[in-house]
Symmetry: C2
Subunit: 442 residues, 2 copies
């Protein structure tokens, strides 16, 4: 099981910069039970994903695996989730694997052109992922790919797999009208909490990830996070610690730094989950994505000596799955010789702990999550654990962690300019802004 | 030339959340001339890089280009700089290019194992980049590769190119002792300001980037940033605006969001530059890396409705180099039909502007940098421009933007545990921390 070390949030480590045990008395004791109330939070269905049936996903993955290329069209959680699984379990996949996996999660024309240069659509299965069925970016690329298939006389029924709402939305209508292959995103599962649903599991299973192990990991951590006593519940205690660090100590930025290249995408996945769930009503915690040791040479200076506004979450890996010894070369040069006989795994672990000590000495709060290994089982734990932590932190902050009202305005302005019916006023507003802007340009 | 639009920092756009013209009267008028004083800032040599001679870099690149694979060993700026050039100019390079480029910027053993599985060292040139010649992570991987070459009876003189200090350090000694190929990192150029030196230009030129165009772009923007009057100097005005936004409005986080997948790595490069240069003495601005439109589905919610603590820097691309039209399919479905006839470039540009308008309406300050195209010329401008902005912002904040004292403690603790001479006390400190930590683990 992953283990969470809270020591360096506390006064015992940080003195007056740390939290006292009785600070936690002010934390709501009902956050966990509130989260479990489906009437209150209809989007809490991620809680049940570890036990969901995966037969349809496996069937579809078997089919998708027959193609040379897997092209994913989706944005936000629909790409971040799948990507974080693939990068963690099969690093450098596209330079080594049998099936190439390409993800188009933007509307950048150069990226799509590059992808279409690389893959032959004849040998490609296209997975379109949009829960709502109306995500403009995903729909735009879907329309383009639909036409390309037609131009090449390729059958959409053969080449498309649509992952969308089980009953509603434009994509579901198209699935029904054209008899396309599809998988449901379960009711009550929002995009950023969807990695353990068909959204993440279909791409994962297609390239060979053991999704049963992922879900078993998630189920195991879930069980350990059901205790209503926060001192016995790692997710509740993590949420409470981060909540109090903001409330009492103004620590507004949450840094996620896994010490493994394979978890860089996980860190980006976490940042969406954290930022979009918690940034509301003028409140919220800003996430920061990072990778160790790499970003010790990029961000550590700021965390050590910058403003006292951060909590750093280390993901410390115990077994890297391989190791390489540093050989005894250049032993005549004192500045190099000391490394000989040590191994890379030893060095990366020592650097993680050294950063932890250095931050703690400098009154900078931090949490260490011990990850026994980067595999499907523990990855499932990490996803589910941080989903729980995020939802609980939102509830403690008094924020609904499942909506994202702030993105509507930009969407509506875009709809207006693209000529969507009912958004004519937004077009006028957009054009008015453009023409009336007081420009100061150098 | 890239153009900077400051309108949405000002009261005319933001009302009381914006800056007034006379707020700028409090900004030091001497920051630019201070930056140019080499006695005061010996590490300001990045200012001269646009005019540096590149003959040796080109010769070396011609040699390196004969190999199938280019393996870069380096960390921090030594990898972020080269990567941001490659990703911008040759997206998906390793899936399409002639020369594969792999970068190892960590000590994660699984990553190095994966790289060594992918490349055949016989056909690989290895570029070791460390200014100081003693970066532990880079040295460790260098020692491993040295032994591998030996094991395969491959000649280090043939396979290695060392980019390091022109006269000092362990790597320079090794170059001299073994007669290795090398390039100098010019005196007074620190890691995070080195992208336009041999550090970035050798890998770039090896795969075919027009480095003369990069430097010409940098030289052109340099000229436009020499005016001592901040109202006529885009770098000075950007630095002043960000400085005042922090000082007067508590905007502590700087978001960098290019609207182009190809500039995602540029955003990460900027974050190192910004974070490591400015995070000091309890002060500093925290950077945040992002990509549009993708992160509208990840971070925009937080920027729109979270704490009033951010300034968003948009990089708006004018010419994407290609475009793809959205075809008129599914015209019977109203929620989709509106996109037909528009193009992806049109959509991504509208989305950028829509986000800008939405943020401005919500009193969230933002700057837009207009980038005519993503090519070598404008990329050179972007690098040099943001280096100027960073250095000037540091000087305005009263911070030396060229050092990084905060990373020493973690390094020293690592040295101690790895048995480096002179760091025995640090080892004791490390072990004492470990044994005396008051553990709170769930």
């Amino acid at each position: 099981m992953i283990k969470i070390d809270f020591s360096n949030l506390m006064q015992e480590s940080l003195g007056s910069y740390g939290l006292a045990r009785n600070d936690f008395d002010s934390v709501s004791a009902t956050a966990l039970s509130e989260l479990q109330q489906t009437e209150r939070y209809p989007e809490n269905a991620f809680l049940g994903l570890p036990d969901a049936d995966t037969a349809a996903i496996k069937d579809t993955a078997r089919y998708a695996g027959e193609f040379d290329n897997f092209l994913l069209l989706g944005i936000g959680g629909s790409a971040l989730g799948p990507r974080s699984i693939l990068d963690a379990i099969y690093p450098f996949h596209n330079l080594r694997g049998k099936n190439k996996v390409l993800m188009y999660d933007n509307v950048d024309p150069m990226t799509l052109k590059s992808i279409l240069d690389i893959v032959d659509l004849k040998n490609t299965v296209i997975n379109v992922i949009t829960k709502s069925g109306s995500t403009a970016e995903t729909i735009a690329s879907f329309m383009i790919l639909w036409q390309r298939l037609k131009d090449l006389s390729l059958d959409p029924k053969k080449h498309l797999i649509i992952t969308t709402d089980p009953s509603k939305g434009h994509m579901r209508s198209i699935v029904n009208d054209h008899g396309l292959r599809s998988l449901p995103v379960p009711q009550g599962v929002g995009g950023r909490y969807s990695v353990l649903s068909s959204v993440g599991l279909l791409p994962a299973k297609t390239v060979g990830v053991d999704i049963d192990e992922m879900l078993r990991g998630a189920a195991d951590i879930h069980k350990s996070c059901l205790n209503a006593d926060l001192w016995k519940n790692p997710a509740y205690l993590t949420a409470s610690g981060l909540f109090l660090m903001q409330r009492l100590k103004n620590r507004d930025i949450t840094v996620m730094i896994p010490y493994a290249d394979r978890l860089k995408s996980f860190s980006e996945w976490f940042c969406q989950l954290w930022g979009e769930s918690l940034g509301k009503e003028g409140k919220g915690l800003s996430p920061y994505p990072s990778t160790g040791t790499t970003d010790q040479h990029s961000q550590l200076q700021l965390w050590m000596e910058g403003p006292l506004d951060k909590v750093v979450i280390f993901l410390a890996v115990e077994d890297y799955g391989t190791d390489i010894e540093i050989p005894a070369v250049f032993q005549d040069i004192e500045g190099l010789g000391y490394l000989a006989g040590h191994s890379l795994a030893e060095l990366i672990k020592i650097e993680q702990e050294a950063s932890e000590i250095a931050l703690t000495k400098n009154s900078r709060p931090n949490i260490t999550v011990r990850v026994p290994a980067v595999n499907a089982y523990y990855l499932g734990q990490l996803f589910h654990f941080f989903e729980l932590v995020t939802a609980l932190t939102g509830i403690l902050l008094g924020i609904n962690p499942f909506n994202q009202p702030g993105v509507e305005e930009g969407k509506n302005l875009t709809y207006g300019m693209m000529g969507k019916k009912g958004y004519e006023e937004k077009k006028q507003e957009f054009l008015k802004y453009r023409s009336q802007k007081n420009r100061l340009v150098l």
